[in-house]
Symmetry: C2
Subunit: 316 residues, 2 copies
Protein backbone atom coordinates (compact mmCIF):
# COMPACT_ATOMS: atom_id res chain seq x y z
CA UNK A 1 0.00 0.00 0.00
CA UNK A 2 1.56 3.33 -0.94
CA UNK A 3 2.30 5.73 1.88
CA UNK A 4 0.71 8.93 0.56
CA UNK A 5 1.29 12.19 2.41
CA UNK A 6 -0.65 15.03 0.84
CA UNK A 7 1.26 18.25 1.30
CA UNK A 8 0.30 21.87 0.87
CA UNK A 9 3.08 24.36 0.20
CA UNK A 10 1.62 27.61 1.51
CA UNK A 11 3.45 30.44 -0.19
CA UNK A 12 2.99 33.88 1.33
CA UNK A 13 3.00 37.16 -0.48
CA UNK A 14 4.74 40.07 1.24
CA UNK A 15 4.12 40.87 4.89
CA UNK A 16 4.16 44.60 5.57
CA UNK A 17 6.04 46.01 8.54
CA UNK A 18 2.75 47.38 9.85
CA UNK A 19 0.95 44.07 9.66
CA UNK A 20 0.22 42.55 13.08
CA UNK A 21 0.84 38.94 14.09
CA UNK A 22 -2.91 38.50 14.34
CA UNK A 23 -3.37 39.65 10.77
CA UNK A 24 -0.68 37.31 9.51
CA UNK A 25 -2.14 34.40 11.45
CA UNK A 26 -5.44 35.06 9.70
CA UNK A 27 -3.65 34.58 6.38
CA UNK A 28 -2.06 31.36 7.62
CA UNK A 29 -5.45 30.11 8.79
CA UNK A 30 -6.94 30.85 5.37
CA UNK A 31 -4.20 28.63 3.94
CA UNK A 32 -5.07 25.89 6.44
CA UNK A 33 -8.72 25.96 5.45
CA UNK A 34 -7.96 25.74 1.76
CA UNK A 35 -5.49 22.92 2.47
CA UNK A 36 -8.07 20.97 4.41
CA UNK A 37 -10.47 21.28 1.51
CA UNK A 38 -7.82 19.94 -0.83
CA UNK A 39 -7.13 16.87 1.26
CA UNK A 40 -3.82 17.88 2.82
CA UNK A 41 -2.21 16.16 5.78
CA UNK A 42 0.56 18.72 6.18
CA UNK A 43 0.93 22.44 5.42
CA UNK A 44 4.36 24.04 5.03
CA UNK A 45 4.71 27.78 5.70
CA UNK A 46 7.77 29.94 4.86
CA UNK A 47 10.76 30.96 6.97
CA UNK A 48 10.03 33.76 9.49
CA UNK A 49 6.39 33.50 8.50
CA UNK A 50 4.90 35.71 11.22
CA UNK A 51 6.47 39.07 10.37
CA UNK A 52 8.17 40.94 7.62
CA UNK A 53 11.75 39.82 6.93
CA UNK A 54 13.32 42.11 9.51
CA UNK A 55 17.05 41.25 8.94
CA UNK A 56 16.88 43.63 5.99
CA UNK A 57 17.19 46.52 8.45
CA UNK A 58 20.01 47.46 10.76
CA UNK A 59 18.60 48.15 14.21
CA UNK A 60 20.59 49.42 17.17
CA UNK A 61 17.80 49.01 19.65
CA UNK A 62 17.71 45.39 20.82
CA UNK A 63 14.18 45.81 22.15
CA UNK A 64 13.09 46.71 18.65
CA UNK A 65 14.87 43.64 17.23
CA UNK A 66 13.29 41.46 19.86
CA UNK A 67 9.83 42.67 18.91
CA UNK A 68 10.14 40.46 15.83
CA UNK A 69 10.84 37.37 17.95
CA UNK A 70 8.43 34.88 19.54
CA UNK A 71 9.00 34.32 23.24
CA UNK A 72 6.83 31.23 23.32
CA UNK A 73 5.41 28.86 20.73
CA UNK A 74 2.53 28.79 20.61
CA UNK A 75 2.01 32.20 22.20
CA UNK A 76 -1.11 34.33 22.41
CA UNK A 77 -0.90 35.37 18.74
CA UNK A 78 -0.15 31.92 17.35
CA UNK A 79 -2.53 29.92 19.55
CA UNK A 80 -5.39 30.38 17.05
CA UNK A 81 -3.21 28.85 14.30
CA UNK A 82 -2.47 25.81 16.43
CA UNK A 83 -6.13 25.52 17.42
CA UNK A 84 -7.41 25.71 13.85
CA UNK A 85 -4.83 23.22 12.58
CA UNK A 86 -5.83 20.81 15.34
CA UNK A 87 -9.50 21.29 14.54
CA UNK A 88 -8.79 20.55 10.87
CA UNK A 89 -6.42 17.72 11.81
CA UNK A 90 -3.57 19.25 9.84
CA UNK A 91 0.10 18.99 10.67
CA UNK A 92 2.22 22.02 9.82
CA UNK A 93 5.75 23.44 9.52
CA UNK A 94 6.16 27.03 10.68
CA UNK A 95 9.23 29.25 10.51
CA UNK A 96 9.67 31.99 13.12
CA UNK A 97 12.25 33.97 15.06
CA UNK A 98 12.80 32.20 18.38
CA UNK A 99 13.86 33.98 21.57
CA UNK A 100 14.60 31.64 24.42
CA UNK A 101 16.32 31.90 27.78
CA UNK A 102 18.57 28.93 28.48
CA UNK A 103 20.68 28.78 31.65
CA UNK A 104 20.15 32.47 32.19
CA UNK A 105 21.31 33.37 28.67
CA UNK A 106 19.02 34.94 26.10
CA UNK A 107 19.43 33.15 22.82
CA UNK A 108 17.95 33.92 19.42
CA UNK A 109 17.53 31.49 16.55
CA UNK A 110 15.94 31.35 13.12
CA UNK A 111 13.73 28.39 13.85
CA UNK A 112 11.10 26.06 12.44
CA UNK A 113 8.81 23.65 14.19
CA UNK A 114 6.93 20.61 12.96
CA UNK A 115 3.52 20.40 14.61
CA UNK A 116 1.52 17.20 14.51
CA UNK A 117 -2.19 16.82 13.75
CA UNK A 118 -3.00 17.06 17.45
CA UNK A 119 -1.31 20.45 17.75
CA UNK A 120 1.79 19.19 19.56
CA UNK A 121 5.26 20.33 18.54
CA UNK A 122 7.05 17.13 17.61
CA UNK A 123 10.25 18.59 16.25
CA UNK A 124 12.30 21.74 16.12
CA UNK A 125 15.10 22.91 13.85
CA UNK A 126 17.35 25.95 14.24
CA UNK A 127 18.91 27.34 11.07
CA UNK A 128 22.56 26.39 10.65
CA UNK A 129 23.63 28.19 7.48
CA UNK A 130 23.04 31.82 8.35
CA UNK A 131 23.70 33.98 5.29
CA UNK A 132 24.61 37.62 5.10
CA UNK A 133 26.67 39.65 7.52
CA UNK A 134 26.89 40.84 11.13
CA UNK A 135 27.66 44.55 10.80
CA UNK A 136 25.79 47.41 9.24
CA UNK A 137 26.79 47.85 5.59
CA UNK A 138 25.12 51.11 4.64
CA UNK A 139 26.25 50.90 0.99
CA UNK A 140 23.70 48.10 0.48
CA UNK A 141 20.24 48.95 -0.83
CA UNK A 142 19.07 46.72 2.02
CA UNK A 143 20.84 44.68 4.68
CA UNK A 144 20.94 40.93 5.29
CA UNK A 145 21.83 40.80 8.98
CA UNK A 146 21.05 37.20 9.86
CA UNK A 147 24.58 36.75 11.22
CA UNK A 148 23.85 39.65 13.60
CA UNK A 149 20.41 38.77 14.84
CA UNK A 150 20.65 34.97 15.13
CA UNK A 151 22.99 32.40 16.58
CA UNK A 152 23.99 29.41 14.49
CA UNK A 153 21.56 26.58 15.08
CA UNK A 154 22.59 24.01 17.66
CA UNK A 155 20.28 21.09 16.92
CA UNK A 156 22.01 19.60 13.86
CA UNK A 157 19.72 18.44 11.07
CA UNK A 158 17.30 16.20 12.93
CA UNK A 159 14.93 13.83 11.19
CA UNK A 160 11.65 12.78 12.80
CA UNK A 161 9.47 9.71 12.50
CA UNK A 162 6.22 11.52 11.85
CA UNK A 163 3.13 11.43 9.67
CA UNK A 164 3.94 7.89 8.60
CA UNK A 165 7.36 8.86 7.24
CA UNK A 166 10.80 10.32 8.04
CA UNK A 167 10.58 14.10 7.98
CA UNK A 168 13.47 16.57 8.10
CA UNK A 169 13.63 20.34 8.18
CA UNK A 170 15.93 23.10 7.05
CA UNK A 171 15.59 26.82 6.35
CA UNK A 172 16.32 29.07 3.37
CA UNK A 173 20.07 29.31 2.74
CA UNK A 174 20.54 25.77 4.11
CA UNK A 175 19.10 24.55 0.82
CA UNK A 176 22.11 25.74 -1.19
CA UNK A 177 24.49 23.44 0.73
CA UNK A 178 24.58 19.78 -0.31
CA UNK A 179 25.70 18.85 3.20
CA UNK A 180 22.25 19.84 4.50
CA UNK A 181 20.41 17.24 2.45
CA UNK A 182 23.15 14.64 2.85
CA UNK A 183 23.14 14.70 6.63
CA UNK A 184 19.39 14.11 6.48
CA UNK A 185 19.77 11.58 3.67
CA UNK A 186 22.11 9.60 5.90
CA UNK A 187 19.23 9.45 8.38
CA UNK A 188 17.00 8.03 5.64
CA UNK A 189 14.90 11.16 5.28
CA UNK A 190 11.85 10.87 3.04
CA UNK A 191 10.67 14.49 2.98
CA UNK A 192 12.55 17.72 3.68
CA UNK A 193 10.47 20.78 4.59
CA UNK A 194 11.97 24.20 4.06
CA UNK A 195 10.80 27.79 4.02
CA UNK A 196 12.73 30.71 2.57
CA UNK A 197 12.90 34.47 2.01
CA UNK A 198 15.17 35.11 -0.98
CA UNK A 199 15.55 38.58 -2.43
CA UNK A 200 15.87 38.90 -6.19
CA UNK A 201 18.79 41.25 -5.67
CA UNK A 202 22.05 40.18 -4.00
CA UNK A 203 23.84 43.46 -3.25
CA UNK A 204 27.41 42.05 -3.11
CA UNK A 205 26.99 40.19 -6.42
CA UNK A 206 24.23 41.72 -8.56
CA UNK A 207 25.53 39.74 -11.53
CA UNK A 208 23.83 36.68 -9.98
CA UNK A 209 20.40 38.28 -9.85
CA UNK A 210 19.12 37.01 -13.20
CA UNK A 211 19.70 33.43 -11.97
CA UNK A 212 17.85 33.48 -8.65
CA UNK A 213 14.95 31.34 -9.77
CA UNK A 214 17.20 28.85 -11.57
CA UNK A 215 19.53 28.42 -8.59
CA UNK A 216 16.62 27.96 -6.22
CA UNK A 217 15.19 25.13 -8.29
CA UNK A 218 18.60 23.63 -9.07
CA UNK A 219 19.71 23.15 -5.48
CA UNK A 220 16.39 21.77 -4.31
CA UNK A 221 16.09 19.36 -7.24
CA UNK A 222 19.67 18.15 -6.77
CA UNK A 223 19.17 17.70 -3.02
CA UNK A 224 16.00 15.73 -3.67
CA UNK A 225 17.46 13.44 -6.34
CA UNK A 226 20.83 12.86 -4.68
CA UNK A 227 19.14 11.78 -1.46
CA UNK A 228 15.99 10.28 -2.97
CA UNK A 229 13.74 12.47 -0.86
CA UNK A 230 10.79 14.77 -1.36
CA UNK A 231 11.64 18.44 -0.89
CA UNK A 232 8.95 21.02 -0.13
CA UNK A 233 10.32 24.54 -0.67
CA UNK A 234 8.06 27.41 0.34
CA UNK A 235 8.74 31.07 -0.36
CA UNK A 236 7.76 34.39 1.02
CA UNK A 237 7.32 36.09 -2.33
CA UNK A 238 6.62 39.43 -3.91
CA UNK A 239 7.73 42.95 -3.11
CA UNK A 240 8.06 43.23 0.65
CA UNK A 241 8.90 46.70 1.96
CA UNK A 242 10.55 47.62 -1.31
CA UNK A 243 12.56 44.40 -1.63
CA UNK A 244 11.36 42.00 -4.36
CA UNK A 245 11.72 38.32 -3.55
CA UNK A 246 12.00 35.37 -5.97
CA UNK A 247 9.00 33.22 -5.11
CA UNK A 248 9.30 29.84 -6.81
CA UNK A 249 7.54 27.71 -4.20
CA UNK A 250 7.62 24.11 -5.34
CA UNK A 251 7.21 20.48 -4.35
CA UNK A 252 9.97 18.25 -5.68
CA UNK A 253 9.84 14.48 -5.97
CA UNK A 254 12.70 12.09 -5.15
CA UNK A 255 13.19 11.85 -8.93
CA UNK A 256 14.28 15.49 -8.86
CA UNK A 257 11.19 16.58 -10.76
CA UNK A 258 9.16 19.56 -9.60
CA UNK A 259 5.64 18.20 -9.40
CA UNK A 260 3.88 21.38 -8.25
CA UNK A 261 5.03 24.98 -8.73
CA UNK A 262 3.54 28.29 -7.61
CA UNK A 263 2.88 30.78 -10.39
CA UNK A 264 2.13 33.94 -8.40
CA UNK A 265 4.03 36.10 -5.94
CA UNK A 266 1.11 36.17 -3.52
CA UNK A 267 -0.50 33.92 -0.93
CA UNK A 268 -0.88 30.73 -2.97
CA UNK A 269 -1.36 27.11 -1.98
CA UNK A 270 0.03 24.35 -4.17
CA UNK A 271 -0.47 20.71 -3.26
CA UNK A 272 0.77 17.26 -4.16
CA UNK A 273 -0.05 13.74 -3.04
CA UNK A 274 3.44 12.50 -2.18
CA UNK A 275 4.21 8.79 -2.18
CA UNK A 276 6.81 8.44 0.57
CA UNK A 277 8.01 5.21 -1.02
CA UNK A 278 8.87 6.87 -4.32
CA UNK A 279 12.53 7.27 -3.33
CA UNK A 280 12.98 3.60 -2.47
CA UNK A 281 14.10 2.42 -5.88
CA UNK A 282 16.86 5.06 -5.83
CA UNK A 283 17.89 4.17 -2.29
CA UNK A 284 18.15 0.54 -3.37
CA UNK A 285 20.07 1.14 -6.61
CA UNK A 286 22.13 4.14 -7.73
CA UNK A 287 21.94 5.75 -4.27
CA UNK A 288 22.35 2.68 -2.09
CA UNK A 289 24.68 4.58 0.21
CA UNK A 290 25.91 1.52 2.12
CA UNK A 291 27.07 -0.03 -1.14
CA UNK A 292 28.36 2.99 -3.03
CA UNK A 293 29.50 5.83 -0.76
CA UNK A 294 33.24 6.16 -0.02
CA UNK A 295 33.51 8.25 3.17
CA UNK A 296 37.26 7.63 3.54
CA UNK A 297 37.69 10.06 0.67
CA UNK A 298 35.32 12.73 2.06
CA UNK A 299 37.37 13.77 5.10
CA UNK A 300 38.09 17.25 3.83
CA UNK A 301 34.37 18.03 4.09
CA UNK A 302 34.61 18.12 7.85
CA UNK A 303 38.31 18.77 8.28
CA UNK A 304 38.21 22.04 6.38
CA UNK A 305 35.76 24.90 6.73
CA UNK A 306 37.15 27.11 3.98
CA UNK A 307 38.79 26.27 0.67
CA UNK A 308 42.51 25.74 0.70
CA UNK A 309 45.05 25.49 -2.05
CA UNK A 310 47.07 22.42 -1.05
CA UNK A 311 45.82 19.01 -2.20
CA UNK A 312 45.87 16.67 0.81
CA UNK A 313 45.22 13.64 -1.38
CA UNK A 314 47.52 14.66 -4.22
CA UNK A 315 48.26 12.03 -6.83
CA UNK A 316 51.08 9.66 -6.14
CA UNK B 1 43.01 40.24 -17.48
CA UNK B 2 40.58 37.32 -17.69
CA UNK B 3 42.09 33.87 -17.48
CA UNK B 4 40.50 32.18 -20.50
CA UNK B 5 40.91 28.45 -20.99
CA UNK B 6 39.33 27.29 -24.22
CA UNK B 7 38.06 23.76 -23.78
CA UNK B 8 36.88 21.15 -26.24
CA UNK B 9 34.54 18.45 -24.97
CA UNK B 10 35.21 15.59 -27.38
CA UNK B 11 32.18 13.33 -27.29
CA UNK B 12 32.62 9.90 -28.85
CA UNK B 13 30.00 7.86 -30.60
CA UNK B 14 30.01 4.13 -29.93
CA UNK B 15 33.21 2.08 -30.09
CA UNK B 16 32.64 -1.38 -31.49
CA UNK B 17 34.16 -4.43 -29.81
CA UNK B 18 36.05 -5.13 -33.02
CA UNK B 19 37.55 -1.67 -33.26
CA UNK B 20 41.30 -1.58 -32.58
CA UNK B 21 43.08 0.87 -30.30
CA UNK B 22 44.75 2.31 -33.39
CA UNK B 23 41.38 2.98 -35.00
CA UNK B 24 40.06 4.67 -31.87
CA UNK B 25 43.20 6.78 -31.54
CA UNK B 26 42.58 7.98 -35.10
CA UNK B 27 39.19 9.23 -33.99
CA UNK B 28 40.73 10.95 -30.97
CA UNK B 29 43.34 12.57 -33.20
CA UNK B 30 40.60 13.84 -35.53
CA UNK B 31 39.07 15.50 -32.47
CA UNK B 32 42.44 17.05 -31.57
CA UNK B 33 42.82 18.54 -35.02
CA UNK B 34 39.37 20.05 -35.00
CA UNK B 35 39.98 21.38 -31.48
CA UNK B 36 43.24 23.01 -32.56
CA UNK B 37 41.42 24.71 -35.41
CA UNK B 38 38.83 26.01 -32.95
CA UNK B 39 41.38 27.55 -30.65
CA UNK B 40 41.30 25.00 -27.82
CA UNK B 41 43.87 24.72 -25.08
CA UNK B 42 42.47 21.52 -23.61
CA UNK B 43 40.51 18.55 -25.01
CA UNK B 44 38.46 16.30 -22.74
CA UNK B 45 37.77 12.72 -23.86
CA UNK B 46 35.29 10.29 -22.24
CA UNK B 47 35.80 7.60 -19.61
CA UNK B 48 37.41 4.38 -20.92
CA UNK B 49 37.88 6.15 -24.22
CA UNK B 50 40.11 3.58 -25.93
CA UNK B 51 37.78 0.59 -26.14
CA UNK B 52 34.16 -0.40 -25.99
CA UNK B 53 32.65 -0.24 -22.47
CA UNK B 54 33.68 -3.77 -21.52
CA UNK B 55 32.13 -3.95 -17.99
CA UNK B 56 28.85 -4.69 -19.75
CA UNK B 57 30.02 -8.27 -20.19
CA UNK B 58 30.78 -10.93 -17.62
CA UNK B 59 34.10 -12.53 -18.46
CA UNK B 60 35.63 -15.49 -16.63
CA UNK B 61 38.92 -15.30 -18.44
CA UNK B 62 41.11 -12.69 -16.74
CA UNK B 63 43.41 -12.52 -19.79
CA UNK B 64 40.40 -11.47 -21.84
CA UNK B 65 39.46 -8.81 -19.26
CA UNK B 66 43.03 -7.57 -19.20
CA UNK B 67 43.03 -7.13 -22.96
CA UNK B 68 40.87 -4.03 -22.37
CA UNK B 69 43.46 -2.51 -20.01
CA UNK B 70 46.49 -0.32 -20.77
CA UNK B 71 49.71 -1.60 -19.28
CA UNK B 72 51.52 1.67 -19.89
CA UNK B 73 50.47 5.24 -20.64
CA UNK B 74 51.41 6.24 -23.20
CA UNK B 75 51.91 2.81 -24.80
CA UNK B 76 52.52 1.89 -28.40
CA UNK B 77 48.89 2.49 -29.40
CA UNK B 78 48.48 5.78 -27.55
CA UNK B 79 51.89 7.29 -28.37
CA UNK B 80 50.53 8.83 -31.61
CA UNK B 81 47.82 10.62 -29.58
CA UNK B 82 50.39 12.10 -27.20
CA UNK B 83 52.62 13.07 -30.12
CA UNK B 84 49.86 14.80 -32.05
CA UNK B 85 48.61 16.66 -28.98
CA UNK B 86 52.15 17.84 -28.30
CA UNK B 87 52.58 18.92 -31.92
CA UNK B 88 49.32 20.88 -31.70
CA UNK B 89 50.19 22.16 -28.21
CA UNK B 90 46.98 20.80 -26.74
CA UNK B 91 46.52 19.53 -23.22
CA UNK B 92 44.07 16.65 -22.80
CA UNK B 93 42.14 14.47 -20.34
CA UNK B 94 41.89 10.80 -21.25
CA UNK B 95 39.99 8.03 -19.51
CA UNK B 96 41.28 4.46 -19.77
CA UNK B 97 41.48 1.15 -17.93
CA UNK B 98 44.77 1.10 -16.01
CA UNK B 99 46.65 -2.09 -15.18
CA UNK B 100 49.64 -1.53 -12.97
CA UNK B 101 51.93 -3.71 -10.90
CA UNK B 102 52.69 -2.18 -7.50
CA UNK B 103 54.81 -4.03 -4.94
CA UNK B 104 54.33 -7.25 -6.88
CA UNK B 105 50.52 -6.87 -6.93
CA UNK B 106 48.57 -6.43 -10.12
CA UNK B 107 46.08 -3.64 -9.67
CA UNK B 108 43.36 -2.40 -11.97
CA UNK B 109 41.72 1.02 -11.90
CA UNK B 110 39.28 3.06 -13.95
CA UNK B 111 41.62 5.98 -14.49
CA UNK B 112 42.01 9.35 -16.13
CA UNK B 113 45.12 11.39 -16.78
CA UNK B 114 45.63 15.06 -17.40
CA UNK B 115 48.35 15.61 -20.00
CA UNK B 116 49.96 19.01 -20.45
CA UNK B 117 50.70 20.79 -23.72
CA UNK B 118 54.19 19.27 -23.80
CA UNK B 119 52.80 15.74 -23.66
CA UNK B 120 53.73 15.09 -20.03
CA UNK B 121 51.24 13.48 -17.63
CA UNK B 122 50.79 16.04 -14.90
CA UNK B 123 48.00 14.39 -12.96
CA UNK B 124 46.21 11.11 -12.49
CA UNK B 125 42.84 10.20 -10.97
CA UNK B 126 41.46 6.76 -10.19
CA UNK B 127 37.66 6.43 -10.03
CA UNK B 128 36.32 6.28 -6.50
CA UNK B 129 32.59 5.76 -6.95
CA UNK B 130 32.43 2.47 -8.84
CA UNK B 131 28.83 1.73 -9.78
CA UNK B 132 27.21 -1.58 -10.55
CA UNK B 133 28.00 -4.96 -9.11
CA UNK B 134 30.74 -7.56 -8.68
CA UNK B 135 29.03 -10.82 -9.62
CA UNK B 136 27.42 -12.03 -12.82
CA UNK B 137 23.70 -11.18 -12.85
CA UNK B 138 22.43 -13.03 -15.91
CA UNK B 139 18.90 -11.67 -15.55
CA UNK B 140 20.19 -8.28 -16.72
CA UNK B 141 19.99 -7.38 -20.40
CA UNK B 142 23.61 -6.31 -19.91
CA UNK B 143 25.99 -6.26 -16.95
CA UNK B 144 27.64 -3.36 -15.16
CA UNK B 145 30.63 -5.08 -13.57
CA UNK B 146 32.80 -2.15 -12.55
CA UNK B 147 32.90 -3.42 -8.98
CA UNK B 148 34.36 -6.65 -10.35
CA UNK B 149 36.93 -5.38 -12.78
CA UNK B 150 38.27 -2.34 -10.90
CA UNK B 151 39.55 -1.49 -7.45
CA UNK B 152 38.27 1.65 -5.74
CA UNK B 153 40.53 4.57 -6.57
CA UNK B 154 43.24 5.33 -4.04
CA UNK B 155 44.30 8.86 -5.01
CA UNK B 156 41.46 10.88 -3.47
CA UNK B 157 40.15 13.76 -5.56
CA UNK B 158 43.33 15.62 -6.38
CA UNK B 159 43.37 19.12 -7.84
CA UNK B 160 46.26 20.35 -9.95
CA UNK B 161 47.73 23.76 -10.65
CA UNK B 162 47.72 23.50 -14.41
CA UNK B 163 46.90 25.46 -17.56
CA UNK B 164 46.77 28.67 -15.56
CA UNK B 165 44.09 27.36 -13.22
CA UNK B 166 43.13 24.74 -10.64
CA UNK B 167 41.98 21.59 -12.44
CA UNK B 168 40.30 18.54 -10.90
CA UNK B 169 39.14 15.24 -12.34
CA UNK B 170 36.47 12.65 -11.71
CA UNK B 171 34.83 9.90 -13.71
CA UNK B 172 31.25 9.01 -14.62
CA UNK B 173 29.30 7.90 -11.53
CA UNK B 174 31.44 10.21 -9.36
CA UNK B 175 29.42 13.08 -10.78
CA UNK B 176 26.21 11.97 -9.03
CA UNK B 177 27.78 12.39 -5.57
CA UNK B 178 27.97 15.91 -4.15
CA UNK B 179 30.97 14.88 -2.06
CA UNK B 180 33.01 14.55 -5.25
CA UNK B 181 32.65 18.20 -6.20
CA UNK B 182 32.85 19.41 -2.59
CA UNK B 183 36.18 17.75 -1.87
CA UNK B 184 37.55 19.48 -4.96
CA UNK B 185 35.72 22.71 -4.13
CA UNK B 186 37.48 22.74 -0.79
CA UNK B 187 40.73 22.72 -2.76
CA UNK B 188 39.53 25.76 -4.69
CA UNK B 189 38.98 23.89 -7.94
CA UNK B 190 38.16 26.04 -10.97
CA UNK B 191 37.40 23.35 -13.54
CA UNK B 192 36.36 19.71 -13.11
CA UNK B 193 36.95 17.36 -16.04
CA UNK B 194 34.89 14.20 -16.28
CA UNK B 195 34.15 11.54 -18.82
CA UNK B 196 31.30 9.06 -18.65
CA UNK B 197 29.56 6.04 -20.20
CA UNK B 198 25.93 6.05 -19.07
CA UNK B 199 23.44 3.59 -20.49
CA UNK B 200 19.91 4.81 -21.10
CA UNK B 201 18.63 1.66 -19.41
CA UNK B 202 19.28 0.86 -15.75
CA UNK B 203 18.30 -2.79 -15.40
CA UNK B 204 17.61 -2.75 -11.62
CA UNK B 205 15.41 0.35 -11.87
CA UNK B 206 14.02 0.81 -15.39
CA UNK B 207 11.55 3.35 -14.01
CA UNK B 208 14.46 5.82 -13.90
CA UNK B 209 15.28 5.47 -17.60
CA UNK B 210 13.16 8.37 -18.85
CA UNK B 211 15.16 10.71 -16.58
CA UNK B 212 18.72 9.84 -17.56
CA UNK B 213 19.41 13.04 -19.47
CA UNK B 214 17.81 15.21 -16.78
CA UNK B 215 19.74 13.61 -13.93
CA UNK B 216 23.02 13.90 -15.85
CA UNK B 217 22.55 17.62 -16.33
CA UNK B 218 21.13 18.18 -12.83
CA UNK B 219 24.06 16.72 -10.93
CA UNK B 220 26.69 18.45 -13.05
CA UNK B 221 24.95 21.83 -12.88
CA UNK B 222 24.49 21.55 -9.12
CA UNK B 223 28.11 20.50 -8.60
CA UNK B 224 29.27 23.45 -10.71
CA UNK B 225 27.10 26.06 -8.99
CA UNK B 226 27.56 24.81 -5.43
CA UNK B 227 31.34 24.90 -5.82
CA UNK B 228 31.57 27.79 -8.27
CA UNK B 229 33.56 25.72 -10.75
CA UNK B 230 33.44 24.90 -14.43
CA UNK B 231 32.41 21.30 -15.14
CA UNK B 232 33.23 19.63 -18.45
CA UNK B 233 31.19 16.43 -18.82
CA UNK B 234 31.98 14.25 -21.84
CA UNK B 235 30.00 11.22 -22.93
CA UNK B 236 30.53 8.13 -24.90
CA UNK B 237 27.19 8.22 -26.70
CA UNK B 238 25.00 6.25 -29.05
CA UNK B 239 24.22 2.57 -29.40
CA UNK B 240 27.34 0.64 -28.45
CA UNK B 241 27.13 -3.11 -28.91
CA UNK B 242 23.36 -3.04 -28.52
CA UNK B 243 23.39 -0.78 -25.44
CA UNK B 244 22.14 2.79 -26.03
CA UNK B 245 23.86 5.48 -24.00
CA UNK B 246 22.55 8.89 -23.00
CA UNK B 247 25.04 11.32 -24.57
CA UNK B 248 24.47 14.81 -23.22
CA UNK B 249 28.06 16.08 -23.34
CA UNK B 250 28.14 19.61 -21.97
CA UNK B 251 30.29 22.40 -20.63
CA UNK B 252 28.84 24.00 -17.51
CA UNK B 253 29.78 27.39 -16.09
CA UNK B 254 30.25 28.20 -12.39
CA UNK B 255 26.81 29.83 -12.63
CA UNK B 256 25.35 26.36 -13.18
CA UNK B 257 24.44 27.20 -16.76
CA UNK B 258 25.24 24.79 -19.57
CA UNK B 259 27.08 26.97 -22.08
CA UNK B 260 27.73 24.30 -24.73
CA UNK B 261 25.79 21.09 -25.33
CA UNK B 262 26.26 18.25 -27.81
CA UNK B 263 23.27 17.51 -30.01
CA UNK B 264 24.31 14.22 -31.61
CA UNK B 265 25.15 10.75 -30.33
CA UNK B 266 28.29 10.59 -32.45
CA UNK B 267 31.83 11.91 -32.41
CA UNK B 268 31.15 15.59 -31.82
CA UNK B 269 33.31 18.40 -30.50
CA UNK B 270 31.76 21.25 -28.55
CA UNK B 271 33.87 24.12 -27.28
CA UNK B 272 33.71 27.06 -24.91
CA UNK B 273 36.08 29.84 -23.93
CA UNK B 274 36.01 29.45 -20.15
CA UNK B 275 36.88 32.38 -17.90
CA UNK B 276 38.50 30.71 -14.90
CA UNK B 277 37.69 33.77 -12.80
CA UNK B 278 33.95 33.46 -13.42
CA UNK B 279 33.41 31.57 -10.14
CA UNK B 280 35.15 34.21 -8.02
CA UNK B 281 32.10 36.31 -7.24
CA UNK B 282 30.36 33.18 -5.90
CA UNK B 283 33.40 32.12 -3.88
CA UNK B 284 33.47 35.59 -2.35
CA UNK B 285 29.76 35.86 -1.56
CA UNK B 286 27.12 33.14 -1.24
CA UNK B 287 29.74 30.36 -1.37
CA UNK B 288 32.47 31.92 0.72
CA UNK B 289 33.10 28.61 2.45
CA UNK B 290 35.30 30.05 5.21
CA UNK B 291 32.50 32.37 6.22
CA UNK B 292 29.44 30.21 5.70
CA UNK B 293 30.17 26.46 5.97
CA UNK B 294 29.40 24.72 9.29
CA UNK B 295 31.48 21.51 9.31
CA UNK B 296 30.69 20.72 12.95
CA UNK B 297 27.23 19.73 11.73
CA UNK B 298 28.47 17.60 8.80
CA UNK B 299 30.11 14.80 10.79
CA UNK B 300 27.67 12.14 9.69
CA UNK B 301 28.96 12.52 6.13
CA UNK B 302 32.17 10.77 7.05
CA UNK B 303 31.04 8.89 10.15
CA UNK B 304 28.38 6.94 8.30
CA UNK B 305 28.67 5.12 4.99
CA UNK B 306 25.08 3.96 4.72
CA UNK B 307 21.83 5.57 5.85
CA UNK B 308 20.71 4.87 9.37
CA UNK B 309 17.47 5.46 11.17
CA UNK B 310 18.61 7.04 14.43
CA UNK B 311 19.07 10.80 14.55
CA UNK B 312 22.44 11.54 16.20
CA UNK B 313 21.68 15.22 16.45
CA UNK B 314 18.05 14.89 17.47
CA UNK B 315 16.28 18.02 18.68
CA UNK B 316 16.53 18.88 22.31
Amino acid sequence: MPRILTVGAAQLGPIALTETRAQVVERLIAHLREAAGRGCDLVVFPELALTTFFPRWFMDDQAKVDSFFEHEMPGPDTQPLFAEAKRLRLAFYLGYAELTVEKGQTRRFNTSVLVDKQGAILGKYRKIHLPGHAENEPWRAFQHLEKRYFETGDLGFPVFDALGGRIGMCICNDRRWPETYRVMGLQDVEMVLLGYNTPVHNPPAPEHDRLGWFHNQLVMQAGAYQNATWVVGVAKAGNEEGVPMIGGTQIIAPTGESVAVAVTEEDELITAACDLDLGKSYKQSVFDFARHREPAHYRLIIESKGARRQSPDAAK
